[in-house]
Symmetry: C2
Subunit: 446 residues, 2 copies
């Protein structure tokens, strides 16, 4: 046949797009609104915790409350992000609607009483759970349900960080390690853009990060001026970003495993975790590693937070480790919340000190660590590269002229690759095809 | 095991990175230099053709010369881009080294005598062929050879357009439709960055495109201001971008099929194609659709080229169609060169008039068409979205603040999706898992 063109294919594809636009509209609106409610209340509880530092001493009791709530009401919702991924791989029992309010309340408890956790897990779980509810209402088929759950994840992630394309890519990339399918990408993109816009329409903003680093374009040949020495420094830093991500993932799993092994009563685990967090505050002598850690209150040049890491001297040599430990204890012992914002903190703090050590721009390295530790811990290097562009690019074209896209890709992909298959999500599928990862099959040493 | 960490995995992964850095260094240097030579000589022949318009009348003879050259010297090199993809899927006879000089000379012949073609095919084939030669020299295994060929493609693509991350993503994305494996991404990224830098080091520049479109950020909530009406217009335009890409791919295949069916002597096909191109110049009454079409010489407001499409009135209603037809005849009849730069032209011209028709910013729509028709014709929406950022972003941070990343993703992914499985590369693998594309299995109507 010389000329193949079947108009029915385009009609069928257009129908697919329209159908999913109709389905993703309520998903985006509901999830975007839920995320807005979450971010607003998260802000309220964070301010409350700052104004009432004594709340920290109730963290063990809060852990018991959170644990009991999940124990009596949680059922499958306990599975969290992993349950959603499993249901995307193989639709089964579905994602229960109760997951949304439970994870919302659980996360607010964590932050009100000073636990160190994030927010992406909460947004992703609310997204998946609400999308699942809408899917059951619409009586979708199992195949459609898989796509819808991905769209819910995309909407939650895109809205919570204000990065719509990152949300869509994250949702399709996080499912498996080392490969990506485009099956759900169009619904994910629609849900994520709508979710982000709805969240903004509710008047909820996002932190604006600024990397002042730029190099002068000395040649008219290229619109981008890449520095070889700096590229090498970024690659060296990426090794540390990758190792930090493994340390975080494995320490969190290890604490969780140990807690389950030695503390038989589930709701006692976060109680003991809460005690350890209090002990850590005494030990380290600062409350900087509690909560989200995006900013400090009141803004104080001597306090360490994500924003401070973008300045020279804004992080101590071990700030990254302390935030990592605080978070691994909080999340590993069973408190609710996400891991991603703490991973941003760990990465930004590590990047900040690596910038000083390597003689590289501190703000650039903090921004790269921000996304690269996250890339290593979740195996989503592409979403993280795009997040670097969506978070740091707007309004800063000179950053892109200075090779930022390449630096971000090098940091994220090397960190992802060198961190191996470690992941904070155990339901991520491995790509059996990847030959260079065969060391995995070596006999276990213990 | 509570805490899994096998240092040997990281050593093995680091070894993989180092090994490929050592292999990709010569690949990037050789391919980047070859692309520099190609772009330099392409510029010389384009200027020569502009200064000597009568050369067009020799196009049929040039077609015979090019056809005879491939007939007697070409052998497997005739396979072009498809041969490289086949060898990446399943290493067999390899990519012959002769492909590099043949495609270089063939492309220069096309452009010297006024054929309408591009340059990415040439860069990709030089990249694959030179990488293949280096691989045989190093006695790589078949599995390593597949990775190396991808790295060669990445280096060629990244260098020829000055977009290193796009080159790397393109090389892993173009292999299959609807999914992407990360197996070769690290070597591709290294080869592409090195190739681009080496090309620039040779003093070869790239065209800087500029989209002046920007919206004012009225809210402090979001760093990005997205316009819903404009998003809808971009989605509507994406339908046309997708259909134009199908028309291009199928028309080129159709002309190629018809030529092979009715013209038994292979080297006569480009001769007749050359006559048709001359007839088209008479018919349309302009030489604007010959050659690459990036710029006009001397710069003339009344002439149509890619650069003119970024201004109101810079393209006629049917400019996109004429460029499409000129290129389909040139490439379909057997002239050498790529299809991507003409696809940029087709997309920018279509975007330009769609911008006028839909009441949307003409430069924005031209830029989106530029990448989106390419995305549809090659099934590489992610590479094209990143290309939009790498080409139009540097120095223009206000563009990213105005929602450009989302507009680019919507245009590229919708164009890719709605264009179905049509592709200018028949060796692209289909993803059998994609459910929504089942209309493909409907009985044929003819």
């Amino acid at each position: 046949m010389p000329f193949r063109w079947d108009y029915r294919q385009h009609v069928s594809l257009a129908w697919f797009v329209l159908k999913w636009l109709v389905i993703c509209l309520p998903v985006g609106i509901v999830v975007g609104s839920a995320v807005a409610l979450f971010l607003w209340s998260l802000n309220v509880v964070t301010l409350t915790q700052w104004d009432n530092p004594w709340l920290l001493y109730l963290l063990p009791l809060a852990g018991i409350a959170s644990g009991l709530m999940y124990h009596y009401l949680g059922r499958e919702a306990e599975g969290g992000n992993n349950l959603i991924m499993e249901q995307i791989h193989e639709p089964g029992g579905g994602v229960p609607l109760r997951m949304a309010p439970l994870v919302l309340i659980g996360t607010l408890i964590t932050h009100l009483f000073g636990g160190s956790a994030g927010r992406e897990g909460t947004a992703v779980q609310m997204g998946g759970s609400l999308a699942g509810g809408i899917g059951r209402l619409l009586k979708l088929t199992p195949d459609e349900m898989r796509i819808l759950l991905s769209a819910g994840v995309a909407a939650g992630f895109g809205a919570v960080f204000g990065t719509p394309l990152t949300g869509a890519i994250f949702a399709v990339e996080v499912i498996a390690i080392g490969r990506m399918s485009y099956k759900a990408i169009i619904p994910c993109l629609m849900a994520s853009v709508i979710g982000d816009q709805v969240n903004t329409a509710w008047g909820i903003g996002h932190t604006h990060y600024h990397i002042a680093f730029s190099t002068e374009i000395t040649s008219s040949l290229s619109a981008v001026s890449l520095d070889w020495g700096l590229t090498g420094k970024v690659a060296i830093a990426a090794i540390f970003f990758g190792l930090a991500s493994v340390l975080f993932a494995e320490l969190t799993h290890g604490i969780s495993w140990t807690a389950k092994r030695f503390i038989p009563v589930p709701w006692m685990r976060p109680a003991i975790g809460g005690c350890v967090v209090i002990a850590l505050v005494w030990l380290v002598g600062t409350r900087d590693y509690l909560g989200l850690g995006v900013s400090s209150h009141p803004p104080d040049a001597n306090r360490i937070c994500i924003e401070s890491c973008f300045h020279v001297g804004g992080a101590h040599w071990l700030s990254w480790w302390w935030k990592l430990l605080f978070t691994a204890v909080t999340v590993g012992s069973g408190f609710k919340g996400g891991e991603v914002t703490p991973l941003f903190f760990v990465g930004a703090a590590l990047g900040s000190v690596l910038g000083v050590a390597l003689g590289a721009p501190v703000d650039l390295m903090a921004g790269l660590g921000f996304v690269a530790v996250f890339a290593g811990a979740t195996n989503t290097p592409l979403a993280c590269t795009i997040m670097a562009i969506e978070l740091f690019g707007p309004g800063h074209g000179e950053l892109l002229s200075s090779g930022f896209v390449v630096y971000a890709a090098v940091a994220c992909f090397l960190s992802y690759f060198l961190s191996g298959n470690s992941s904070i999500y155990h339901a991520q599928k491995r790509d059996e095809e990847e030959p260079q990862r065969e060391v995995e099959q070596l006999p276990e040493t213990d």
